[in-house]
Amino acid sequence: MMKPENEAGLAKMVMAAKGPLAVQGGATRGLTLTGEVLSTARLSGIELYEPGALTLVARAGTPVAEIEVALAEHGQRLAFEPMDHRGVAGTDGTPTIGGVVAGNISGPRRIQAGAARDFLLGVRFVDGNGVIIRNGGRVMKNVTGYDLVKLMAGSWGTLGVLSEVAFKVLPMAETQMTVMLSGLDTDRAVRAMSSALCSPFEVSGAAYDPAGRDGNPVVMLRLEGFGGSVAYRAGKIRDLMAGQGEISQTETPAQSADIWKAVRDVKAFHNRKGDVWKLSVKPSDAPGLAKRLGASDLLFDWGGGLIWALMPEGSDLRAKAGRFDGHATLVRADKDTKARLGVFQPLSAPLEEITKGLRDRFDPRGIFNTGLMQPAAGA
């Protein structure tokens, strides 16, 4: 395993590499990679944090937890609420901020605040030739040249090895509350979440657990902000939901926080047999799609726009789903299933060609995470 201590060392190692490299941060996201491991774990530490400018710059291998602690000291947070994959992917290790960027990892607040990529202000990375490249910066508005910041977010290490990332951070909410609506089927649940998200009351989380914690399906709607405002908006949301099901709300902010941590990390699927799939869909398509999947269990987030599906091992969810506006990712399965079905949704021919072109330019020797984000061998 290679563990460079600094960016220059990283560049040298990439330049000297003779074969495929498995690029990883904390290796918690459940990817199956081939090649010699190139870990960013030692490229660690916060380099700059300016609470008054809402910006944080950190080396790619910095643990997410370390960043969250530093931000919390100033009452701030990563607003996109990056999920922790360890429970659902069955991995251990330490999630890194570089991994969050590489996977564009967000959480329930993505529906309101945006994704990791929306908060990413700048990147430094080493391309396949060992050249250090910088894009973006540390300011909140920047249209100087092409946006490689977005391109690197969600590229899963296939275009370069991240060495440093810069984020916009936001103030933590003073408090939070979750309004719950029980007893709705999927159709009605998605409609209820949609009407909440179409209200002016700034719902920052809208999820639906068809099994609930006690077997009773539940819609969960989160409100965050100053105390008086949260109470006011929770009342408005309750009014809006009146007559649709049994309504309740959390008693304490901690209760509400627990609910959303469980949603964020898909706790319902931890330690359960089966493959885990993640679908990004148009929310109104979610109920119809969900019915076609034949899933053992489901969890809906992002107002229905994100479906987590627990599937019988080896089953081809994409075949069951058919064509839809969105994409499906295989998050947890054995190596053979991943190889057979492909982790990522196949792209249209023109996009596949562009993707191949970009990889050929950024990694001409084809050494970064070979096979990942490429058409499955069996396809």
Binding site: G114, R134, K141, T144, Y146, G305, F344
Partner: protein, 482 residues
């Protein structure tokens, strides 16, 4: 402004090109008359002008595809154009180019309130997107000052921002999908009604690529429900730097205003004379706006007013009603127009870390004395996006050049303090040659590699974004290949 020498081979093919275009387009969509093409010789950066070889105004994605396929086959450069409101020369023609204007493609294709999206053709103006959903109390968030005129196509090309992006983000944060036509005519869909991309984030790459990677003909945009209400507060200070410090404190405090706007004395005086907004005469003025129900607004404004009081403001005025709120915004919104009444000006667009505001404002005022040109500052302070307006006299020989040199120094200063050359206007031709102050040759090579993939012959929107000296090899290769 140096532009590449027109390609004589391309100019020689004009007649043949027109014939081929008329096979796929109706007659009124092809403009060859020199008087009419002159209307396209510049965008809102009027200091630089060059009439194009001809102009095409397609009405559908199919027509755009046909046009690009023909131009691609004949090796003709294409400059895409939305409404021509770029302040950076992003739609400046070359003499050997075809201007591809999407202004006739302005339909709303689908409004989907359940999923909070709208699908439009990109020639539609920014404000008319909101107009299409206002009846249901929805709006499209990015609000560049030119929103009455500017097209979504240009907003996507430049990744436009606006006054309210502190809370709602810029174009790229509100764009879910596009129909993209590649230079060879290939039509492709990226994204759609869902969130996040399936493969590489090509949508994020297209947004802000200044029309150099493809032509976006349709877009799926996020629409939001209007807040219950909004109210601005106006805070005056007798010192620029104190105003800057106040901004930083507000941001730290945990309230997230939708907008924090800043104006300095020259700007206040000019707008007051022009718009009579009732502004106090002071060194610096902040407009801070928050949203929510009346009670929520009260709570947030209390926090903001308490912070402001700690900085000894000379004026602290909260809008009592809609009318007063309108008056507070009136001055800010007419600031550019007001400055234009009294002077020629160049509008800069650098962004700096908010914490560097006091230092940068002081340096700009020192430079103003060194260059002998006045500066008025009006900008989005919450996100550090500066808009210094350098005043000059276009009729005075040497003044424009002096102004350009001053502007370049200010932008270099923005980069030095950790910021960037352009926050929302784009590079275009205007800041093209400053790119090496922000990025290394390797950084720019990586960006140019992307253009190589999307547009290998470098035909789309030539001579923008990259310094001519570093893109020369690629352009020469194209000429040699013909």
């Amino acid at each position: 402004m140096e532009m590449p020498t027109p390609d004589p081979d391309v100019l020689a093919q004009k007649a043949q090109l027109v014939t081929r275009l008329l096979q796929v387009l109706p007659k009124q969509a092809v403009i060859t008359d020199e008087v009419e093409t002159r209307a396209y010789e510049c965008d809102a950066l009027t200091a630089y002008r060059c009439p194009p070889m001809l102009v095409v105004l397609p009405s559908s994605t199919k027509e755009v595809s046909d046009i690009l396929a023909i131009c691609h086959a004949m090796g003709v450069p294409v400059v895409p154009r939305g409404a021509g409101t770029s302040l950076a020369g992003g739609a400046l023609p070359t003499a050997d180019c075809v201007i591809l204007g999407v202004a006739r493609m302005n339909r709303v294709l689908e409004t989907d309130y359940d999923n909070r999206t709208i699908r439009v053709e990109t020639g539609r103006t920014n404000l008319s997107v909101t107009g299409a959903v206002a009846e249901q109390d929805f709006f499209y968030a990015p609000d560049p000052s030119s929103q009455l005129a500017c097209a979504i196509a240009g907003n996507i090309a430049m990744n436009s921002g606006g006054a309210h992006c502190l809370k709602y983000g810029v174009t790229t944060n509100n764009l879910l999908g596009v129909t993209l036509v590649l230079m060879d005519g290939t039509v492709t869909e990226i994204g759609g009604g869902h969130l996040d991309s399936g493969g590489l984030d090509l949508l994020g790459l297209i947004c802000g690529s200044e029309g150099q990677l493809g032509v976006v003909t349709e877009a799926t945009l996020r629409i939001l429900r209007k807040p219950e209400g909004a109210r601005p507060v106006l805070i005056g200070f007798d010192d620029n730097e104190v105003a800057g410090a106040c901004v930083s404190d507000i941001i730290r405090a945990g309230v997230l205003p939708v907008a924090i706007e800043f104006m300095d004395r020259p700007c206040i005086e000019a707008t007051e004379a022009f718009a009579h907004a009732g502004y106090p005469m002071c060194e610096a003025l902040l407009i801070v706006e928050v949203e929510g129900s009346p009670k929520e607004i009260d709570t947030q404004l209390k926090v903001i007013k308490d912070i402001a009081r700690g900085h000894n403001p000379v004026e602290l005025r909260e809008a009592k009603d809609e009318e007063e709120a309108g008056r507070i915004w009136l001055g800010r919104k007419s600031a550019f127009g007001a400055m234009g009444q009294i002077n020629d000006y160049m509008c800069l667009d650098g962004t700096i870390p908010v914490t560097a505001l006091p230092f940068v404002l002081r340096r700009i005022s020192e430079m103003s004395k060194e260059y002998g040109l006045d500066v008025a500052n009006v900008f989005h302070a919450g996100d550090g996006n500066m808009h210094p307006l350098i005043l000059f006299d276009a009729n005075k020989p040497g003044d424009l050049e002096q102004c350009e040199a001053f502007g370049a120094e200010v932008l270099k200063l923005c980069v030095e303090v950790g910021g960037c050359l352009t926050g929302e206007h784009g590079v275009g031709v205007e800041k093209r040659d400053l790119m090496l102050h922000q990025y290394s040759a390797a950084d720019l090579e990586a960006q140019m590699a992307i253009k190589d993939v999307f547009d290998p012959a470098w035909l789309l929107n030539p001579a923008k974004v990259f310094p001519l000296v570093i893109s020369q090899g690629r352009r020469a290769a194209r000429m040699a290949a013909e």
